[in-house]
Assembly symmetry: C2
Homo-oligomer: 161 residues x 2
DNA sequence: TATTGTTATACTCTATAACTATA
DNA sequence: TATAGTTATAGAGTATAACAATA
């Protein structure tokens, strides 16, 4: 999916044809390093999931539905921090692929309950296997304590403490 | 710029109307927490920079040019991990606002050397002030040691060790 | 009045491919 | 042959606004 970063992230490679620039003040910004790390993982995820054609967010929706059967689009949007319209588009794409389905709620007829389909559950099972190897590549960079500290720090950032 | 996340990230607020779902297996994924943290900082950045209408990446380009005068689009793309076409669009937008300018290279006539304009330098000075308060909000969440460890961990992720 | 889903719209981001001019 | 810039194109992501049905 991303043929990007031709030489840069290949381990044990010699210097680039065009060497990376001095990052200057960017080096002091948490947001800069967070963004670079996020992009690195995002791309590895995309490459790993290429055969299944699932994005991080699509997988997130499916994992949420695996645990929260019948959740609404608003539930998903609130949990993942997006708005209704964005979630609508995301759900549309997954529904078009028959991975999830909408069912009208009996209790509140404004709502549509979202469910994984059989195909969705099968896809999720496959995805989890691929994700394991993807995650492992980054887990291997850290000790258990380091990883715990990293996850705690990231949570603190987006939960605002 | 982002009126998003209506209740979620307000400190000391009671439960949401629609409470966040159980994140299930997502809670174990580094990529999930990294993405959530990135989005949180990205939005705070966007809100902070609203008056200047500068994105994280636009600022990154300007900071890079502040230190690496005359760098090419390829240089910037390699450093920030994007491709030529994406950087082209980014540079176009900054150039259209007269914040940076292209100058033909004497040494290699395929190249354009990029420079901050006077307006660009002024904008950057303003931006740095706003960024300080933005960064401070997140720095305050951590001790010095915690922040050092966090930055080191993030670098390890995108530098592949 | 407020909420859920929905549609329409628009702009940004990202990447691919192909062209051009240089090297 | 390879590289830098460029253009065209397309799809995904993101958000706003407005409407209908329902609460």
């Amino acid at each position: 999916m991303t043929k990007q970063v031709p030489q840069d992230d290949v381990e044990g490679e010699e210097a680039l044809v065009t060497p990376p620039l001095d990052v200057g003040r960017l080096g002091d910004l948490l947001g800069f390093h967070l963004r670079m790390a996020h992009v690195a993982i995002y791309r590895d995820f995309a490459d790993t999931m290429e055969e299944l054609a699932l994005t991080q967010k699509q997988l997130a929706v499916m994992e949420l539905l695996a645990v929260n059967t019948g959740a609404s689009q608003i539930d998903l949007a609130n949990t993942l921090g997006t708005d209704r319209a964005t979630m609508m588009a995301l759900v549309n794409r997954l529904a078009a692929r028959d991975l999830i389905e909408r069912r009208p709620s009996q209790a509140d007829r404004r709502r549509q309950e979202l469910h994984l389909t059989e195909a969705g559950r099968a896809m999720l099972a496959q995805a989890r296997k691929l994700i394991d190897s993807h995650e492992q590549r980054f887990i291997d960079l850290f000790s258990r304590d380091e990883m715990d500290a990293l996850l705690a720090a990231l949570k603190r950032i987006y939960k605002g403490n």
